[in-house]
């Protein structure tokens, strides 16, 4: 049982803590909770700010550097906010053989944004990634975890339009 008296946490909300606690018995060592805990934080907040990392270290009773070295090592933890739609464009071998590098440039141009930046409307972040295990659908992209492919330029146009419309629906 963790019985420390907590300062008010900003990122380790009761829900996040409950998720972490539900996993505690799975591992003989609390350090192993770091990755699942970081996922819980990111799923709740969209990213893992330094402040959240510090809170997690305090919560688990581990040195802050243990948390930070993990966050900075793995590509999928975001140390900066990302757009509502995070678009991974695979640029690896099977996809590039089918024109993925050109598609990536097209998508960035279309959105007028640099790789890994967020569009001014907060909707999109585009990131070139290494093989995402869907080479049979090359050139393939992933939008918030969903595989879409093979894609061409027209489909990317449609996708952007669809996601923009969807965002308008959900934000009054």
């Amino acid at each position: 049982m963790s019985s420390h008296v907590e300062p008010a946490y900003r990122y380790l909300t009761p829900e996040v803590c409950a998720r972490i606690e539900a996993l505690r018995s799975r591992y003989p060592d609390r350090r192993a909770l770091l990755m699942p805990a970081l996922w819980a934080i990111q799923e709740a907040h969209g990213w893992v700010p330094l402040e959240a990392q510090t809170e997690l270290a305090a919560y688990l009773g581990v040195p802050p550097v243990w948390v930070h070295e993990v966050v900075s090592f793995y590509n999928m933890y975001h140390e900066r906010p990302v757009g509502r739609y995070l678009i991974y464009v695979c640029g690896n071998i099977a996809c590039s053989l089918r024109g993925a590098r050109r598609l990536l440039r097209y998508l960035l141009d279309r959105l007028g944004v640099a790789e890994r930046a967020v569009t001014p409307d907060g909707l999109f972040t585009v990131e070139r990634v290494q093989c995402i295990g869907a080479c049979e659908r090359a050139p393939v992209i992933q939008v918030n975890g969903e595989f879409i492919g093979p894609v061409d330029e027209a489909q990317l146009d449609d996708l952007i339009a669809t996601l923009r419309a969807k965002a308008r629906e959900v934000t009054p």
Partner: protein
Amino acid sequence: MNSPSEVRALIASYWEDPAAASLAGYLARGGYEAARKALTEMKPEDVIEEVKRANLRGRGGAGFPAGLKWSFVPRTSPKPKYLVVNADESEPGTFKDKYVMLRSPHLLIEGSIITAYAIDAHVAYIYIRGEYDVCRVRLEEALREAYEAGFLGKGILGTGYDLDIYVHKGAGAYIAGEETGLLESLEGKRAYPRIKPPFPATVGLFRCPTVINNVETIAYVPFIIRHGGAWFASLGTERNGGFKLYCVSGHVQRPGVYELPMGTPLRTIIETYAGGVWRGRRLKAVIPGGSSAPVLRADEVDVPADFDALAKAGSMLGSAGIIVMDEMTCMVRALEVIADFYADESCGQCTPCREGAPWLLEMVQDILHGRADPSYPDLMLQIAQNILGRTICALGDAAALPVLSFVRKFRPEFDYHIEHKRCDVEERYGEVSNPD
């Protein structure tokens, strides 16, 4: 043994029917019978013997015999023992484990139960790459079903055997697929590969004896228990038992996963199953085992696709990610993409890999962009040679082998780029099929 007389597919036979992904559909196809047989009729040592007889080679890349690996776990160790299923599937060109988890998750769970029983583990972790969240969700669902039905938890199938299986989600790092990098990652650290020995079988997860196997390896185990190791062995070639999930991608008409007998000729996989090269073009080159494997020229693909035959042909079966390149492929550009990957994914612990992989990338980029001088190809070969075998893990070799094979086998393309500052493939065809 009740061996089916004609077998066309094993794992993939579950993929034709979407219902087979659910527990009910799986049970209707004889699901969990193999686990029942192993746990109620066989001793752990018998299971290991059967898997040894099957010639089941590890499907994660190295092809190590699974039964032999399991036998290295010290049975008398007082420490807990762990099974870790490697579902990181990050080798470029590889996408088979994804189908196992999406369409036949119970096969993976049943195989894990039998494997854990054989090595006396009571906890198993399935380490799944973060990008495979769709698989994770499906797997968690299947695990819930298995717990409810009494196939997991305390006293499985009415025996005294307990097993918990947990899914652990990765977060984007190729090196976490390397088995000891994976263990570090599971322990909540950076995925830095460990120096071996000691091997995980004796000092593994949380410093306890651990077996790590690939998803596909584990998914074949129920078939071996059901029909016998000798039967499984007879499906493949010498020392390469059973069937194999081949992933075909690149310039073919029908990219996809094809389950075929181990040792099916590489050319047959590409031409008959994947429909041959797309757009009526000719074949130029094939990478047979994920991007780490040395490339083969079109005249080198008449080789059985198994671990030993491909090794003899100077390449490797690896993860069986077969990447096909048509005649309009610029090989310099293809190598640039591969070199970028290894430079990006090097964990940085070993100097030859940390420094060498980015040098190789820069040099191939210089060649591509007309900034190289004629000494470059030889210098690249030299750098690659100096990485080989001098690193903690095999990522160093993986960075070196493509360079050695591409430069040696397609040297004129590299030289042409350097001399003319243009692409000779592009000159000949007007465009290349792998543009920037």
